[in-house]
């Protein structure tokens, strides 16, 4: 697959503002037709990365290539990269049609070509009848559609979105996510999408890049990253995660398993396939939905079964989340799917036994 030329390639790109390194040695590729999300907490350098691709920020080091061509030093107006701003940045003194025609006008396109293309772009975003409106006469979702039509009409071969849904209410956000993704797939246009919302990133993307303090933590499909986080940061950023610390008491190389003596009491077997031995102390990560309640009442002693007391029960519709206190008062989140018959019956103060299946445990150095 590396025979293909990537739409976009960043090579060791670095940008610092004063003493803060906003982006540090970031390298990645965007393949044709791909929808890639840059995901990370606030201040991790997502916007800076996007602005470097659009040409508004010049990297201190590294190169940016667009279809094999070095565009690192090209001014923004000579890149065919379409940026959709968080607040849409529609020109308030122009009508919707004039906004959409702006890019063509600047490039000196013929009037008839412009008219057809504006029509085409407005139809793509299902707003052909809004051409004569002004931006302030549109709802947030409509403004966003116009912003998308505007970059498409201008002939962008690559789309960049910076937190495109943050100004929309929850319901509209879902609808726009689906709509944008469908449009992107229909046009087959490579897209980079910046967000700090992991749900949004997972539901839309072909591939994710998780960033943390200016660096790439992990890159992969949503499933790879959710199921096999490579660091504690990624594990915890990608959704609720239980964390149980303990001492490593043995390694079974043949079975690829390590055994952990948990601080909270009990033993835990976890896969370990690293070439070196696990460190003396380690942390086990485990998703709430992978834990099952095996039986109520006391007992235990087997590996990967921990006893605890339900402290709190939160009903969320499709699932119920139980907060289970272990012996040393660490809380473990357990997520149970609610069946047709109703929610799981464990209420506060119920004694439960939790089963933590070994394949779902990720062991990492403390």
């Amino acid at each position: 697959m590396n025979q293909r030329v990537p739409e976009l390639r960043l090579e060791h790109v670095t940008k610092r503002f004063g003493s803060t390194a906003a982006v540090q040695d970031v390298s990645f590729c965007l393949w044709p037709g791909e929808f890639l999300s840059l995901l990370g907490p606030s201040g991790c350098g997502k916007t800076t990365t996007l602005r470097m691709i659009a040409g508004f920020v010049v990297p201190d080091a590294g190169r940016i290539l667009c279809r094999g061509q070095d565009i690192t030093d090209e001014p923004p107006y000579r890149r065919d990269v379409g940026l959709v701003f968080q607040n849409y940045a529609l020109f308030p003194h122009m009508t919707v049609a004039e906004n959409v025609a702006f890019g063509l006008k600047m490039r000196g396109a013929a009037r008839s070509v412009t008219r057809d293309r504006v029509q085409w772009a407005l139809e793509l975003v299902r707003m052909p009848q809004y051409g004569t409106r002004r931006p302030h006469e549109l709802s947030g979702g409509q403004q966003q559609r116009v912003a998308v039509a505007r970059v498409l009409a201008a002939g962008a071969s690559l789309l960049l979105f910076d937190e495109p849904f943050s100004n929309l209410d929850a319901k509209l956000r879902k609808a726009m996510q689906v709509e944008l993704r469908e449009l992107q797939q229909r046009l087959g246009i490579a897209t980079i999408h910046v967000t700090h919302d992991q749900q949004e990133a997972m539901s839309m993307s072909d591939r994710l890049i998780v960033m943390n303090s200016g660096q790439i933590e992990q890159e992969g499909t949503p499933e790879e990253i959710y199921r096999h986080p490579r660091s504690a940061f990624v594990a915890e950023f990608m959704g609720e995660c239980n964390r149980l610390a303990g001492r490593v008491v043995g390694v079974d190389r043949a079975r690829g398993m390590a055994e952990l003596d948990l601080d909270a009491g009990g033993r835990l077997l976890a896969p370990w396939s690293g070439p070196e031995d696990p460190p003396e102390r380690a942390v086990a990560f485990l998703r709430p939905e992978h834990i099952t309640i095996v039986s109520s009442g006391a007992g235990g002693g087997q590996a990967n079964v921990l006893a605890g007391t339900v402290r709190r029960r939160v009903y969320l519709g499709p699932v119920t989340v139980l907060y289970v206190s272990l012996n040393d008062d660490t809380d473990v989140l357990v997520q149970c799917t609610n069946s047709l018959n109703g929610a799981s019956g464990y209420g506060p103060d119920a004694r439960v036994q939790l089963h933590l299946p070994p394949p779902s445990v990720r062991l990492m150095p403390l």
């Binding site: 659009a54 040409g55 508004f56 001014p75 923004p76 107006y77 000579r78 990269v81 379409g82 940026l83 701003f85 607040n87 940045a89 529609l90 020109f91 308030p92 003194h93 122009m94 702006f102 890019g103 600047m106 490039r107 002004r134 505007r150 970059v151 201008a154």
Partner: protein, 277 residues
Amino acid sequence: MTSVGRRLGAILLGSYLVLFFLYLESPLLIIFLTSFSRGASLTFPPDGFSLHWYARLWDYVHDAAGLQPGLVASAWTSVWLGASAMAGSVVVGVLVAFGLRRYRFRGHALVRQCFLLPILFPQVVIGVGLLLWFSAIRGVPSWLRLVLGHLILTLPYVIVTAGASLDTLDEKLEEAAMNLGANRLQTFWHITLPSIRSGIVSGALFAWLISFANFTVTFFLYSGEMRPLPVWIYENLQRVIDPSLAALSTLVVLLTLVVLLIMNRLVALGRLVGLRG
């Protein structure tokens, strides 16, 4: 608080506002009333009512009984001078405001303040300074002296109003334009300028009015054949003191108000229909 107390408060505040307004406008009011006087002396309160002095003004316009050049020529000089100062300060002021926003350097705030200093200087100082300067470099025609002198007074107003508009302009709009393929000049012309249009128009309006009404600096720079209206009025005041000058002043104030209204209307209308600049 009782309703009586509230009523009393409202009445007090209302009277305060009315009194203060009267105080502010008293020079205009007095001139206005005096211009309708029947007597021949320029005194307040006026005795009687007549339109006599407006008729007299009409004579001035016709047979130029006053100084040479006459009233009409002076009025034209002032109008034209105001227009030149306005045009000059719009072109220069917008570029200065744009540059000040674009380039951030050490001492930026100080430089920005310095551009506004002429507003704070005593105008006598500016007048004398310019007079000395222009007599040192000979050969600057008198019209150019006046325009350059007035530019010093009017430029800061455009820098302030255009600068204030630029401060509220969302930089993302300019970035969006560039992202769509507009180079810097196109972005300035199609996005930046239209966005700060109201600031430019009000700056231009100020510039014209400041120039039109200026006496002090003008007094140091005018010449016999270039005698702007304020100077003409002043010099006539020294020769003939009669209410016709009050009539003239009233007309000048009215003209100023009309210009204000027209410009105000233009800006508001422009915003309403989204006229492009």
